[in-house]
Symmetry: C2
Subunit: 205 residues, 2 copies
Amino acid sequence: MPEPETVRDFRRAQIIGAARRIVARDGLHALTVSALEGELAFTRGVITYHFRNKEEIVQAVLASALADVEHATVSRVRSSMGAAEKIEALLRSTVRGLLDNVEASMVLLSFWGRIPADPEIAELNARLYERYRAYTRDVLAEGVATGDFVPAAASDAVAALVVGIVIGTVAQVCFEAGCIDPDAVVAEAAGAILGHVRHRAASCA
Amino acid sequence: MPEPETVRDFRRAQIIGAARRIVARDGLHALTVSALEGELAFTRGVITYHFRNKEEIVQAVLASALADVEHATVSRVRSSMGAAEKIEALLRSTVRGLLDNVEASMVLLSFWGRIPADPEIAELNARLYERYRAYTRDVLAEGVATGDFVPAAASDAVAALVVGIVIGTVAQVCFEAGCIDPDAVVAEAAGAILGHVRHRAASCA
DNA sequence: ATAAATTAAGAACGAACGTTCGAATCGCTC
DNA sequence: GAGCGATTCGAACGTTCGTTCTTAATTTAT
């Protein structure tokens, strides 16, 4: 990630940052040029000079949030871990990472409203989740190969379950501030899933 | 649910139905008076005659979808079931019910974008999920009382986990049509959670 | 049959949106 | 310090939005 050198890059980053704050705070529908003027100390001349149009800003906001979320998820799992550890890290670290960057998470949740109307956004979202599911499937297969997991588990369904738990937990925390303890939820989820995919002998004392 | 008798009630239902279709198909931002004119065979005179303003339509759409979803969830669990059956029904029937009425589900997902800006919508959503969590906690307590479940389980976290699974699964199905098999996901989820809250003796052959 | 009330129609309005554009200002080079 | 490109400014434009209002059509009651 190179430091912004030119004025252009600096301004663009500044505008995208303001746009992200607006979207995370008030929703995507509140992202207007006037709102950007208020959030920054600029007039709209600056904004329209550095971006061709508003759609370019919207896409930059989405790309920025997607990059953050991507970085907060899979990259936290170390390859030195065992399969069971990886599954737990996949859950715990991902939820933690998403909630450490609530702004990016809220931005992505805001973009959900555009999925029905915008196939491009739908595909970016689908790719994100599919990548996460694919990684989960790999870990499951790895666990089966090492003999840690039972081979019968339907890895497609379990992968979707893991992703669903992450999505559902983050959504509840983001939309109902204070009502949910994500660490406790993730702990239960990890226990339940590992107890389900691991050989019974390992979990039954 | 009384049949619409007066012309007024009939027209209102007609307009709300069209509004729901628009929101479910294209998102909440696409719900404009002009779009309603197109979806119905009316002019905007009719619409503004039967509704004070657009906000009233929006709230009616939300209330309508909330009622549908509410009906599709808790009401499907029979009180004659055992605790374990209830947990499974809570998962399976709820996901099924939500996906049987994709329109209502998509409407609710569309309204998520308004949660950051609209405390009223945020609370309606929070209430829906909290009621679902409370019911799950009751079932868990019932299972503990009958000796089916281990008493140690943190029911708050497990309840949030159940709701999260429902949300995450429905979201994946709605946003990635065809990629996810909800029945398989729910089956894995039910197996994992029941294996986790049930006494080990019951699940270890 | 006629008067009154209800409902439908569609033109017109102000407000807010994204965009465009010419003038003003800054920063650098020669 | 004059000249020039890069940047900032803010007014103005056309469009679309939700709302309002007048007129016409239809239904209901007497």
